[in-house]
Amino acid sequence: MTEGFKEHPYLGNSQQDVDEMLQYLGLKSIEELYSDIPDDIRFKGELDLPHYKSEYELLEAIKAKMSKNITTREVRSFMGGGVLDIYMPALQDEVLRRTEFYSAYTPYQPETSQGTTQALFEYQSMICELVGMNVANCSLYDWATAVGEAALMASRITKRYKFIYTAATAPNREAVLKNYVVGANLELEEIPYDPTTGKMNIAEAKAKMDNTVAGIYIENPNFLGVIEDGLEEIIADAHEKGVKVVIGADMNSLALLKPPGEYGADICIGEGQTIGGGPLNFGGPLLGILAMQFDRRETRQMPGRIVGVTITANEGERAFANTLETREQHIKRERATSNICTNEGLVALSCAIHLALLGPEGYKDTAETMYLSAHYLVKELEKIGVKRVFNSEFFNTFILDLKIPKSKKQEFINFMLERKIFPGIPYSNDGENYDYIVTTSYLLCEEDLNDYVKAIGEWRS
């Protein structure tokens, strides 16, 4: 028994309980349970860790620290890049705060976990609807790790060791991809984009594809905001050569754009935070989406948990349970399709609730608002002589041609912050001059957009 024992609320047992248990075990102190541990590795010092004695003090202390942040709700945020400020309806958090959902474990005992398993099956099914495919897993960590997992999956399916991707892939997703493929020894190659349109160079893509290529990864709209075209042509060519096509989709854009399953993609990945997975939360937790067209052999190469319909043994009733578990690490160990165990289950639930609340109409409404806001913004910016870098079709993201020299970048940030604006994500090709990747959410109203135009105008004058 250490001296510090103060019957803390997080400890289930009082001193009396402790004494009774020790008595049952025939011990004098808890320390005896550590008696097999060599003395020289025991830690005898004190650590100076943060400690607040009451819940109230703790709350106030953390509030004080966090007050130094400036939130996207205190300014107008034009930041996207893969995550987006969204509004979570009140109902959504009401459900998410139900302890029955958030304090449950992975549903390894499905008979007592039908809440989780059915909700995740519904999530998978809704994702299938958005992307036009018929299988989705019940989450990966985020879009970036989904790129890595998709590359590995394509390699397992094709037994090929080269993966190509477009240069218009977000740098953070590219970085994770590069990391994930090291172990499997995949060779990566980049397909350039056209410097005027921002679209993938189709001829180069086709030239790079041969029977050694496992898969091709294309973001659509891509990181530059541009909607790719000619995808059907690429996909036809890829399939002829046995190459798997992975589309990284902006999940909101799919309300307006043709779903990847419809134009023949094999695998679709993306970020679920932006369609209701949760608040920005400084970039985590997020929700990695992974979907594919069902294939008896290839679906077995999917990483992560999948919930399926099943039946009860005696009554033959409908039930839901994890399925194809022999792909997973707890059964297959070194032969598993991925090491993933803990996933983003509650974020998937959150996303499902959000989509159930929006319905097809709400989903379309929000996407249309994003689209129209961005297009209005571009039109107004053009009026003051500020243009986009790429003059192509776009959804809610574009790159604003600002060419801010590195030396003035901080000044620009401060200037916009004074006007309560996060102007976007800085983007530079050469490390010398910065343009801005601008994204509109559906939370911005016309006045916010006008203020943005005004601020950019003032900066330039």
Binding site: Y10, G12, L58, E111, F282, G284, H375
Partner: protein, 505 residues
């Protein structure tokens, strides 16, 4: 008496009727006519999302939630999962506007508060690890393993030892250990455990070579037994040129009592959703932290979060040429990290140490009581005290009564309790892996053991009763094989099969 709710709840899609709305998002006044997407790119068929009224959505999820067992329902003694109580203040803190509405790419001066919290958490975890450099970029335990092993591989490659591609792990290790090894392009060398459940030192000596990248070992191991020869193991591995990886899944046993760094480990991951009380979320999100020593620090993922004391300013450091790169799109699961920080600050050093001691006490108490039941035996050895968990074997019961460890687990579920982890680790037979954590009080453990005892008595006279368990849950014993044979993985497939006249439940 326990009765779980049973609603035969339809799927959202089955509740849907055209034209119902559950939420009105903000709409702008721009004309919809201005939407001009070229025909070849346009979506023509809207997704078949469910259409419901708001109240119906709420009912649906309330029904589903009532068909779920959770830590606040009752005892949840899953071994190696550390299902401890999730303090409610953690949830309150994580829902601060100053947390929820932060974009990961915001200017660094606008996120000083969260960076301060993350930095302080890095320092605190580094202290507890005895390994002072920390990254929080890893969103889950397996991601932590992947990252930690990548650091080891990068270290060897950087030192010209590119041939070092073998990770040694005992046959008692968590399934993620071999899987993470393979994801790093390394080979797993599995070594047998002794009869007492500990690593066989001769096997370890025989396994090390100039190809050894490292030893991956959780301590206490998955049997809840402390690997007392860890210093000797460390010597053997290091003399062979390898490094030591600590799988922090079992850290709850030794928080503040023993620091992995002091045992000779070079790198570890902590599961913040285990040891540090953040919720499991029905599968996630969790979060891991990876802590390492000076040897491995240059390879940590970018960016690292650092602090300039002179300017009192937190910043990102991208300028790390030897870094392995990124393992997550942004900074990992920051909102989970904030919960873990809250937990640590609620307990402080002394409190954390108390949690470890109490976790070990409750585990030994539970295991010793269960061991006395007819049909159970403690796996491997009864001599050594367990730490945070212990593994029982139901082999004698299976032989005598044709009722398996899984059957007993299902019977326990009928009682409104949760089963332990079953059939793991693989070196135990009919395994029942029990970890009550420090939250479970003596009365609850007594009730649990009593329930197990009563159910086993019933099974002795009626094995069909056992094979049909659980009862009183929202659905009866599930036939998982059906799902694998039929692969109904989405509502789309369900509908198609139904339309084709194939059987779907």
């Amino acid at each position: 008496m326990y009765r779980q709710a049973k609603y035969d709840e339809p799927l959202l899609f089955e509740l849907s009727k055209k034209g119902r709305r559950a939420h009105l998002p903000p709409r702008c006044d721009f004309s919809r006519d201005d939407i001009n997407i070229p025909e070849n790119m346009r979506r023509t068929v809207p997704p078949e999302l469910p259409e419901l009224h708001e109240g119906e959505v709420m009912r649906h999820y309330v029904h589903l939630s009532q068909q779920n067992y959770c830590i606040d329902t009752g005892t949840y003694p899953l071994g190696s999962c550390t299902m401890k109580y999730n303090p409610k203040i953690n949830e309150t803190v994580a829902r601060m506007e100053k947390m929820m509405y932060l974009h990961p790419n915001q200017p660094v001066e606008s996120v000083q508060g969260i960076l301060e919290v993350l930095y302080e958490l890095q320092v605190a975890l580094g202290e507890l690890a005895g390994l002072k450099h920390t990254t929080l970029q890893t969103p889950a335990g397996a991601s932590g393993e992947y990252c930690g092993l990548a650091l080891i591989k990068a270290y060897h490659d950087d030192h010209g030892d590119t041939q070092r591609d073998e990770i040694i792990a005992p046959d008692s290790s968590h399934g993620t250990n071999p899987a993470s090894t393979v994801m790093n392009g390394m080979k797993l060398i599995e070594i047998k455990s002794n009869e007492d459940g500990r690593v066989n030192m001769e096997a370890l000596k025989a396994a090390v070579s100039d190809k050894t990248a490292g030893l991956m070992l959780t301590n206490p191991n998955t049997l809840g037994i402390f690997e007392k020869d860890i210093i000797e193991m460390s010597r053997i591995v290091k003399e062979a040129g390898g490094l030591l990886y600590y799988d922090g899944a079992n850290f709850n046993a030794i928080v503040g009592k023993i620091r992995p760094g002091d045992m000779g480990y070079d790198v570890l991951h902590f599961n913040l959703h285990k040891t540090f009380s953040t919720p499991h979320g029905g599968g996630g999100p969790g979060s891991a932290a990876v802590c390492c020593n000076d040897l491995l620090e240059p390879y940590l993922p970018i960016p690292t979060i650092e602090y300039d004391k002179e300017k009192d300013f937190y910043f990102y450091n991208h300028d790390r040429p030897k870094s392995i790169g990124k393992v997550h799109g942004y900074h990992g699961n920051a909102a989970i990290a904030l919960r873990a920080y809250t937990y640590i600050a609620a307990l402080g050093f002394q409190g954390l140490k108390d949690t470890a001691e109490h976790a070990v006490l409750t585990a030994n108490y539970a295991v010793r009581k269960l061991e006395k039941l007819d049909g159970f035996r403690l796996s491997h050895t009864s001599e050594i005290p367990r730490k945070h968990e212990g593994v029982l074997e139901a082999t004698p019961f299976l032989r005598k009564y044709d009722v398996s460890g899984m059957d007993i687990a299902k019977m326990i579920i009928s009682r409104g309790l949760h089963a332990p982890t079953v059939y793991f680790p693989l070196i135990a037979h009919e395994a029942w892996m029990v970890e009550p954590t420090e939250n479970e009080n003596k009365d609850r453990i007594d009730q649990y053991v009593q329930a197990v005892s009563e159910e086993m008595e019933k099974a002795k006279v009626d094995s069909d009763y056992a094979h049909d368990a659980p009862k009183w849950t929202s659905v009866g014993r599930i036939d998982s094989a059906w799902s694998v044979r039929n692969l109904v993985l989405s509502y789309k497939i369900y509908k198609e099969k139904k339309e084709k006249g194939e059987f779907v439940p």
